[in-house]
Symmetry: D3
Subunit: 206 residues, 6 copies
């Protein structure tokens, strides 16, 4: 690994030197994935920001359902795979290598479909997705690229496919959060782990 380019423009701390909570989180991820995704190492340069980043990430991506304080109105429409579709589509639009490659891998694993991530990253209009997922990605792309133009008609287009407004929040919030993530990754030159490129492409990997 001596010849590998650095994973960030900024210093990358040793795992052992990190605050306990971050160290613990990283070890858990390593245990689960078999390696430490570089985003954990690179963002650890700024522990307070990293904690907020992870908390935001978890709030949007780990929960089931819409998470509203109003449980009944809460959307339950987005599967974990669909959340990753939003990430991959918007990260492609933002030309963020780390997020396309890393979340492309997660999308393939969640969906158990080896082609879907490349399709969505390059052009979601050509992807093997349902009309409902197409509407979801159209909304996400508008939040990504023209959020200032989001209007009632955009919400209505989602409702026509059975999405609740809580789902719309989820879709938009994931697009917005990766508006942050993509910019951070491009800012610091975050390099995807080599492992991500192949993940989910072959039947038995690991």
């Amino acid at each position: 690994m001596s010849n590998t380019p650095p994973i960030s423009r900024f210093p990358v701390p040793e795992i052992g030197s990190l605050p306990e909570d971050l160290r613990q989180r990283i070890l858990e991820v390593q245990d689960k994935a078999g390696f430490v995704p570089n985003v954990f190492l690179a963002l650890a340069h700024r522990p307070a920001e990293m904690r907020a980043f992870l908390a935001y990430h978890d709030a949007l991506l780990l929960k089931e359902g819409g998470g509203s304080t109003n449980q009944e109105a809460s959307g339950q429409g987005l599967t974990k795979g669909e959340r990753e579709m939003i990430i991959v589509a918007t990260s492609g639009a933002n030309r963020c290598l780390y997020c396309v490659v890393a979340h492309g891998a997660i999308l393939r694993v969640y969906e158990k479909r080896p082609l879907i991530a490349d399709q969505i990253a390059v052009n979601h209009r050509k992807a093997d997705i349902t009309p409902r997922q197409r509407a979801m990605l159209d909304f996400a792309m508008k939040v990504c690229l023209h959020a200032d133009e989001i209007e009632e008609a955009d919400y209505a287009a989602l409702r026509a496919h059975g999405f609740t407004d809580e789902d719309a929040w989820d879709i938009g919030a994931i697009a917005a959060f990766f508006g942050l993530s993509n910019r951070m990754a491009n800012l610091i030159g975050l390099r995807p782990n080599d492992e991500f490129y192949l993940m989910g492409r072959v039947p038995r990997q690991k």
Copy 2:
């Protein structure tokens, strides 16, 4: 206030019904500002996301200095006013009404300069700022609008004005975080409090 348009497309919870930590934070802000900024009420619809949002916000905007784990390399170059300049410039580019108006107010208060926020929101090239601040905003605008093109030359341009690379992280991270905030505000139709519009424009305002 009965005729005022809603502050969000989504339900706005009663303060009394909120989890204790959020309720406490809101009351503190109200105590300090004299009113509750609408972002606190609107985001409280999603408590977990709000906590992460506030933690990120505080990590980037409340600290002094660069916050790196490597204290010596840590940039100390950005004043609180300068951090708000970044927010106002990028929020203007993203056409986010809430952030331009609310952070424009904060910028005026911090800098004690009643004209600076409107200047930066409309066109930072015409603002009464130093060449160093101009370089800071040029970098922030590139992260806002073309983060995929950020390169060594952009960091070098900052260094030529005495910024450290930790300062570059700060500048870029604030631009990236408001890449998220602006999209959320436009997504939910977040309405600025009327109070913000005048704040910092008149000598003794309350």
Copy 3:
């Protein structure tokens, strides 16, 4: 005022040295507003162009009704406040500091609404305006940004809100005229008078 940046990249003539008609016009404005808006001083560097500029301005903004030679078809739909809304919205899109600040002030004064100018300058889709005014600004923004694509459908959209074609001329002509004004102001670095920033924001500001 010795430390104030210059109001124009170009020489600014003394009022006393100006041709009588321009001198008279400037003194009238000063009498009415309490100060001389910088556009009058900066454009006076070129008296012939200034006279044409003022004549165009007056033809579009001072009249009542549509001004057509065909009186019956003449639109009477645009109030003075609405004409200023068009200016503020398109000047925001063109990132023209002078026009956003100066006409934002005039808009506040005409409408007696202290928030409306900032709303329209940042994002007219989020402003407290009627659907008819929204259609007016959508048309104006298209003339501002994509005039080559103006078609029958755009006129029809205005008619659906009760505008006549003469109103459409008014809306488009104001957007076109500030296409000129915004470019001139950005060309010469025209600086708004400090007085404009606060005008119309506080109850008794005289």
Copy 4:
């Protein structure tokens, strides 16, 4: 002429019915050109605006030299042909049929070069012009397309080719004025006279 499409979306007044000053001006133009350019007929629908339009046009295009109140600093650098080059280049960028065709004709006549107008309208970078004219058109195109980004460096680039700042005003003001004209022509669907298309292309064209 019964089958010809209308020259404007708006009513076109009879010449005989126009105010005397406009009628006189039109007859003079007709006498000189052999026909009445449609812009005179179409704009006459709004006499006050037309007078201002013509006054602005004449101030920028008919004078010799820079026209500044400060005679000594006044630029004398722009020939009439070069002024038309600015019009043709920016009108091409704005996709304004009337101005490309009508001013293309005038440019050919002034320069006595039948190819120059098409070259500049399509891509000024490929036109048979001098490096000085190329710098002039680069500045004009920036005022046309990105006036908010005009800075000292743009003026410096002109000075490097011997242009004075008064010349810069001329170049920018012509680009700005046709920012207005192009939008008006596209707004009203102004149709170029058939005569313009061939003018200046053949040796003796009466």
Copy 5:
């Protein structure tokens, strides 16, 4: 012709030195047109590429009908003049001087209408064309500028004007082929022959 700028950035071979098939083709064109269009001379620098270019050109532009292997479904809707309209409109959008000027000439000759090429090159929305031709050019312009967004709705819009899907292939393929031609011409600085500028503008020009 000694003072004429070069027709290409690259060496232009002598006709006599060319492979027999290219030499023959060039002599045929010269015989028919009275001169050798510069594209033949400039591309001859790369004989193999030129042969492919001409074969593609001929397949799209010389045939009658749609050329599909499925004769019955084959579109026959595009006249030679309409094919040239597509070329002129997309070459205008790509700012390709050679193709606008040379194919503008061919369009005038085919259509026997001296104004049509300039109209379409500058703004096809203002051209004297039928609604069907307008739909054809809208489709072509989308392939030219946003091919990644072509969808079923775009095909449906063509069908509404009587075009078959084979016609859609023709329209799109011509736009795509000139996506190549325009880039090549701009790459090598291909200069149009002076003869093209006037061709088709005057009654008897042979």
Copy 6:
């Protein structure tokens, strides 16, 4: 394969029904690759266009060296892998799924580097390439996106990295040719073969 979406919007001919030369070419490709890339089947709908397409493709991609008639000046600088880099980068910019996936596979195979294609497709600025290759891709991307702005300075930037002008032709011509290919693929909805997605990613594949 019954559930697979169609590989083209248009009818796909049986291989056995094709003209002998195309049939032969397809069988050769199948023999070499183990499957028939869909582009061969989809384009065979138009045999004459397909022949020209293949001839152009082969002229640009199969040769060694620059292919100029002037052998001595001929560039020899582009390896087959580098030619594929140009294709992948520009196809990513054009959001062409077929070309990104199919040529991404070929690039991985040629370079024997499993990560390079994804890197270049998403953001060539973040790819593991040499400064010389970066200059090559910068030039190619300018031809892809802004060919009308290609100038002497762009050629000079290539020369600074040791490229000849013949290399510049090669780089630009490949970008131009895929300007055509990408538009055709998006036009007809060309679907990449499933086999391409994994090709070149695993050590021994097949």
